[in-house]
Amino acid sequence: MTSSNGVAGHPVVELAGVSKSYPGGVAALRSVDMAVDYGELLAIVGPSGSGKSTMLNLIGTLDRPSSGTVRIDGYDVSALSDRQLSALRSRRIGFVFQQFHLAAGRDALGNVADGLLYTGAAKRDREQRAEAALIRVGLGKRLGHRPYQLSGGERQRVAIARAVAGDPPLLLADEPTGNLDSVSGAGVMELIHELNAAGTTILVITHDREIADSLPRQVQMRDGQVV
């Protein structure tokens, strides 16, 4: 499933011989090789404990591998300082979490605009881009709503808007439908398809076979290895 717009001549995500073990001798990942090209939409699927959350953390540069190489957008993660990793995340990776992680005291626009805080954009610019992103996810009429005034599906849409407002080449969605009923879940998946069609590379981490099967590519995980 290689996309045609692989601009830089390298994959957006590349794992080579990646292992991750935690203190106490638990190996969460064992020598994983994987590449994701620009424009792909894929599922990383597996039961809990299969290592897919560790994959997400490594691909999202929130953690470093014990051994092996992780390259994101061409950068070797192990060669980057913490500051550089932060800068990489702020511009090139968007995260969507199962628990949404929205600030309760801020309205939808504020939540999305705050997501751009670390890109260095000015406040007005952040708000304009946040509004555009919210319109894009179908919440143009909910800009001033606080999270408690929104349904679960709408909250996840706000979180998605926050992740894509900065136009990152890579979007990581960790169980994006895990806290949603099936109708809202289907809506969120539809949105993910739309965003992918518009050019964003999207990795969906899920334990749900049905969701995984609805995506063009699946990466199966079991016991820390890709099957």
Binding site: A27, S67, T69, A79, Q84, F97, L117, G120
Partner: protein, 423 residues
């Protein structure tokens, strides 16, 4: 999860095609991956959001700081206002007054001033004016003839010259002062305290005779002995009460620059035969001395205020520590959004600074109001020195920074994955 089977130090690169050299990679990263700087308005907003999410807690911990600052500012403010009032009084009363009174003889007996001491003192060149009072020691003043003799109210009966008021700088509260006629007849003027103790009737009873009250004085700041006196004319005292005519206090006003010179010769002039038996004092010095006493009290209260401030600072630190514990997922989210460790640290220090500065501002306002209210009730001018306001602001900034630093460092050291794992 399976136990680890990776041999340590396994090769890092399993790449099939040749990669750019790591050095070039690093240069590209240095060039392109620079975290953006957080702007100050954004930092202030961030702190505001943080505080607004737990408003009650923010208010309570800011209150601690506010009380400390208010205590310090009002203590210093009240003392400064009192000084300003004293300065104003001294400026009005003048500091050129010297008083002369008889001391003790070599054998410890009460001495007296010679009858002509007043006239001799008036001859000292720089002395502009001099007047005297003489205590009529044999009698006491009562409200009327039914009052028991022992109930003297601590009041004294004095004879005074007519120019007493201008020399001492005391004003009439009501009624009139003695004149050439009334100084010869049973008429008295009461000191401020005397009037209260004798009940403000039209007459008083002295030495088996009823005396008419013609006036009441205001407080005499430089001659407080007048406050507890019943004052009559010199001739009347001699005529009706067998007054011996010895002055007991001589009040002098001198040219300001010559006050110390006058002071040196005053004792010898008043009683040439026994100059050691004369006490000379400068009442304005006594008033100024009160400042020093006040200063001790002020530093005690300041100490209490700084303890309150310290406790307030601990409250802020406590709030921030709890805040960091509670907001782990927010910290994780911000890290995933691209916040650097430094930016997380700055956010929490900023929040702590904002919290303590809100408390400090409220405390400064409160302290100013307390000072103003107290000064108003005392009829003092309200004075809050600039240095104490600046000191208060400085203290809150310092407290905010110190209280926020440790929690902020803890927040920034949190691993993003660990922070995100907590819900």
């Amino acid at each position: 999860m399976a136990p680890t089977t990776d041999p340590p130090g396994s090769p890092n690169l399993v790449g099939e095609r040749p990669r750019s050299v790591p050095q070039a990679d690093r240069e590209r990263a240095d060039r392109e991956l620079r975290p953006a700087r957080l702007r100050v308005p954004d930092l202030i907003r961030l702190g505001g959001y943080g505080l607004r999410s737990r408003p009650l807690r923010a208010v309570l911990s800011a209150l601690g700081i506010a009380i400390g600052i208010a205590a310090m500012i009002s203590v210093v403010g009240i003392s400064a206002s009192s000084h300003a009032d004293l300065d104003r009084k001294l400026a009005k009363l003048g500091t050129n007054m010297l008083t002369v009174s008889p001391g003790k003889t070599m054998f410890g007996k009460q001495s007296t001033l010679p009858d002509d001491s007043l006239a001799m003192i008036k001859r000292i060149a720089p002395v502009q004016s001099a007047t005297a009072i003489g205590t009529v020691g044999t009698v006491h003043a009562y409200r009327n003839d039914r009052i028991p003799v022992a109930q003297t109210n601590g009041l004294s009966v004095v004879a005074a010259k007519l120019d007493l008021l201008t020399a001492v700088g005391v004003e009439l509260d009501r009624g009139v002062w003695l004149n050439e006629a009334t100084e010869k007849y049973p008429a008295v003027v009461l000191g401020a305290t005397t009037a209260q103790r004798l009940g403000g009737g039209p007459t008083v009873y002295i030495g088996g005779r009823t005396w008419a009250v013609v006036g009441v004085l205001q407080n005499a700041a430089l001659a407080s002995e007048l406050d507890t006196s019943v004052i009559m004319g010199w001739p009347a005292a001699t005529k009706y009460l067998a007054f011996d005519g010895h002055p007991t206090t001589v009040y002098t006003r001198s040219v300001e620059s010559q006050v110390e010179a006058v002071r040196k010769v005053l004792a010898a002039t008043a009683n040439p035969s026994a100059s050691t038996e004369v006490d000379v004092s400068r009442p304005s010095d006594v008033l100024s001395l009160r400042r020093a006493t006040n200063a001790t009290f002020t530093s005690l209260l300041l100490g209490l205020g700084s303890v309150a401030l310290l406790v307030g600072g601990i409250g802020v630190a406590n709030t921030m520590v709890i805040s960091v514990l509670e907001r782990r997922s927010e910290i994780g989210l911000r890290r995933s959004l691209g916040a650097t460790k430094g930016q997380i640290r700055t956010q929490f220090v900023g929040e702590s600074l904002l919290l303590s500065m809100i408390g400090g501002a409220a405390g400064a306002l409160l302290g100013y109001l307390v000072t103003g209210t107290y000064a108003m009730t005392q009829k003092w001018p309200t004075v809050v020195p600039l240095w104490v306001l600046a000191g208060g602001v400085g203290a809150t900034v310092l407290i905010g920074a110190i209280a926020g630093l440790y929690p902020a460092i803890r927040a920034s050291r949190l691993e993003p994955t660990e922070a995100l794992a907590t819900t």
